[in-house]
């Protein structure tokens, strides 16, 4: 990686989701040199795993495409994938980042022709589909993957499969001798955009995510609805593959709960409202969506979206946080138990499938890596005034795409100021 040049005036962006990509592009467009570090083998983050995104219900590929074009066209941005930041030391204007580069076992010669994937027989769970599908152990992370380069999973190293992949490649792109490397980068300022991860639904014991096949999470439902997802867009039950026409959405699954995440994850009300539109799209008037909620938080202009969904007769709103779920073993149906707040009626409602609108938590414990201030939930807060590490997007708060992008822009402005200060001091 001798070609990576980083100085005190470089801005390093950590995390290549929508926030990190935005930050990298905007910092570079102000004339700064940027290094974008992404832990996964390709950019895009969790937005690329959505079927559509609110409020306009466009496909994520569209927004991604625009960002990628800006990114590829900019000479000032250097992208490193499979790059994981271990430690940040120093101070504003003078940081040292220790970064581990994990081997891909495929070099720049790769044309993504796919021959290695065909040659290999081992299969591994596909993280892009949250493990709901399997893929070959030589793979392209997703259709939209950037860079468009295959990855060989370390699990097949030393097996006949690895040799088969190597033999199948006509471009000498497979390099099984690659080793992990640790490099040190200099930076004047850092934009930390490592995003979020879904709260572990199995911890919400009364909902039985780990016990009942037909209790899934909202992120899994996105994949289930996507024509390029594990079921080719058929909304079916994991237990028996039957169409799930009668679906329950449980809000605040793990959020606003002192036993789990204390904060409101802010996007999950809108995510469930959006997902009821997937139901209507698939099943028309036959769809039956029931949203169990404490209160619906459709912030500012999203109110319109909420009103549209409310007007849909296939969508029912039930004001109640579900107490617990049981399973009818004979049919695989899930039965939701609780008491509603509007009249205190006890219910035991049967559904084909239950979707938990899981909360967002920070994807990494940033405090073990850098000296930054975080809030009670671990999201980065604005540090002391002389700090040069700035949180962006869901590393800083539970945010939707629009607000993540705003937050990224704000952090870039701060980072640029730090770097300008350094430049001035150095003359």
């Amino acid at each position: 990686m001798a070609d990576v040049v980083a100085t005190h005036e470089t801005i390093v962006v950590v995390g290549g989701g929508i926030s990190g990509m935005t930050a990298a592009v905007e910092a570079a467009e102000t004339g700064k040199n940027v290094i974008l570090l992404e832990r996964a083998p390709s950019l895009g983050g969790r937005v690329s795993q959505l079927y559509k995104y609110f409020p306009k219900l466009c496909h994520p590929t569209c927004g991604m495409e625009i960002n990628l074009r800006r990114l590829r066209g900019n000479k000032r941005i250097k992208v490193l994938t499979q790059a994981e930041v271990r430690k940040i030391e120093g101070r504003a204007g003078d940081y040292k980042l220790s970064v581990t580069l994990h081997p891909r076992y495929v070099n720049e010669n790769c044309t993504a022709c796919g021959a290695c994937g065909e040659a290999v027989s081992a299969e591994i769970p596909n993280p892009f589909d949250y493990g709901m599908s399997h893929m070959k152990a030589a793979y392209l992370p997703s259709l939209m993957a950037y860079p468009q380069r295959y990855v060989i999973d370390p699990s097949i190293l030393g097996t006949a499969d690895a040799e088969k992949a190597k033999a199948a490649c006509k471009y000498s792109a497979v390099d099984l001798d690659m080793k992990p490397e640790t490099i040190t980068l200099s930076a004047g300022a850092v934009v930390w955009a490592t995003g979020w991860r879904p709260y572990d639904a199995a911890k919400i014991q009364p909902y039985g995510y780990d016990r009942f096949a037909n209790v899934i999470t909202s992120v899994e439902f996105e994949r289930l609805s996507d024509p390029r997802g594990p079921t080719a867009g058929r909304i079916v039950r994991p237990s028996d593959g039957k169409e799930a026409r009668n679906v329950a959405f449980i809000q605040c699954a793990g959020s606003r709960d002192r036993n789990h995440l204390k904060h409101c994850s802010r996007i999950c009300c809108m995510a469930s409202l959006k997902q009821t539109t997937y139901m209507r799209e698939r099943f028309g008037d036959e769809a039956q969506s029931t949203v169990y909620y404490i209160d619906i938080r459709a912030i500012d202009r999203f109110e319109d979206f909420y009103q549209k969904v409310q007007a849909d007769p296939t969508v029912r709103f039930l004001k109640s946080k579900v107490a617990n779920i049981t399973e009818d073993e004979a049919t695989g149906d899930v039965i939701l138990h609780g008491v509603d707040t509007e009249g205190y009626h006890r219910y035991d409602n049967r559904h084909d499938l239950c979707v938990l609108a899981v909360g967002m938590e920070p994807s990494v414990d940033v405090r073990s890596i850098a000296d930054v201030r975080v809030d009670a939930s671990g999201f980065i807060e604005l540090g002391p005034t002389d700090g040069g590490i700035f949180g962006a997007g869901c590393a800083a708060n539970a945010l939707d795409v629009n607000r993540s992008v705003q937050s990224a822009t704000a952090s870039v402005l701060r980072a640029v100021q730090v770097v300008n200060r350094v430049a001035k001091a150095e003359g």
Binding site: C252, R256, R258, N259, K321, A323, G338, D340, Y344, R346
Partner: protein
């Protein structure tokens, strides 16, 4: 007792929530309830409650003093703690239920014939007398509290358990005569009296 009730109703006029906060154990938590419904849905005795905990909390805020304090509902709580474990706001629901029941009892508003209240009274009197529960006396008192005939029927229905307890030495059959209680009974009585005085003073019950 009725006098305390009038005094309290007067002092906290139109603000039952404040009254609960001041006088009911853990009452200051009531305002933290966000009306999600998890406690009511989680209560194993839920279907038997006229007003489940969530509704009681709303009724308190709505100032429905008489309905709450005269209710049988909070007397249904068996202290299983399911609600506390699950409440997203960590309200000590069980304790509030007992606190409300106790307060209603102090004011003389609790339903007279409520079986839990009657048992609790018997238990307390039994315990306070000697500082240690006399089990045979308590069980007998409980079975026979509605008269001799029902008492015999109840005792008969429970006889297998009773014999089992005797065999396991969990019940002293001669307890009516041999129950000793604690050493310094007078001291215990003094202590309980003092505690009651302190509580009454703190809550403004003292005359």
């Amino acid at each position: 007792m009725g006098d305390i009730n009038t005094a309290m109703a007067e002092q906290y006029r139109n603000n039952f929530l404040k009254e609960v906060e001041a006088n009911v154990e853990e009452g200051q938590w009531v305002k933290m309830c966000m009306q999600c419904g998890v406690c009511s849905g989680s209560c194993p005795l839920g279907p038997a409650w006229e007003h489940p905990p969530q509704e009681i909390f709303m009724m308190i805020r709505a100032g429905r003093r008489d309905e709450v304090l005269k209710s049988e509902s909070m007397w249904m709580c068996t202290s299983c703690y399911n609600c506390i474990v699950r409440c997203p706001r960590e309200l000590p629901i069980t304790h509030i239920m007992h606190g409300l029941a106790n307060y209603a009892h102090r004011l003389g508003l609790a339903p007279k014939m409520n079986p839990t209240r009657r048992f609790a009274k018997k238990f307390w009197n039994n315990l306070a007398k000697s500082g240690r529960v006399n089990e045979i006396e308590l069980s007998a008192g409980l079975y026979f509290m509605d008269g001799f005939k029902t008492g015999i029927a109840r005792a008969w229905a429970m006889k297998d358990i009773g014999i089992g307890m005797l065999k396991a030495k969990r019940l002293n059959p001669f307890g009516f005569v041999t129950h000793k209680g604690c050493k310094d009974k007078k001291g215990i009585h003094r202590m309980l009296k003092k505690a009651r005085e302190i509580e009454d003073r703190r809550k403004g019950f003292a005359a």
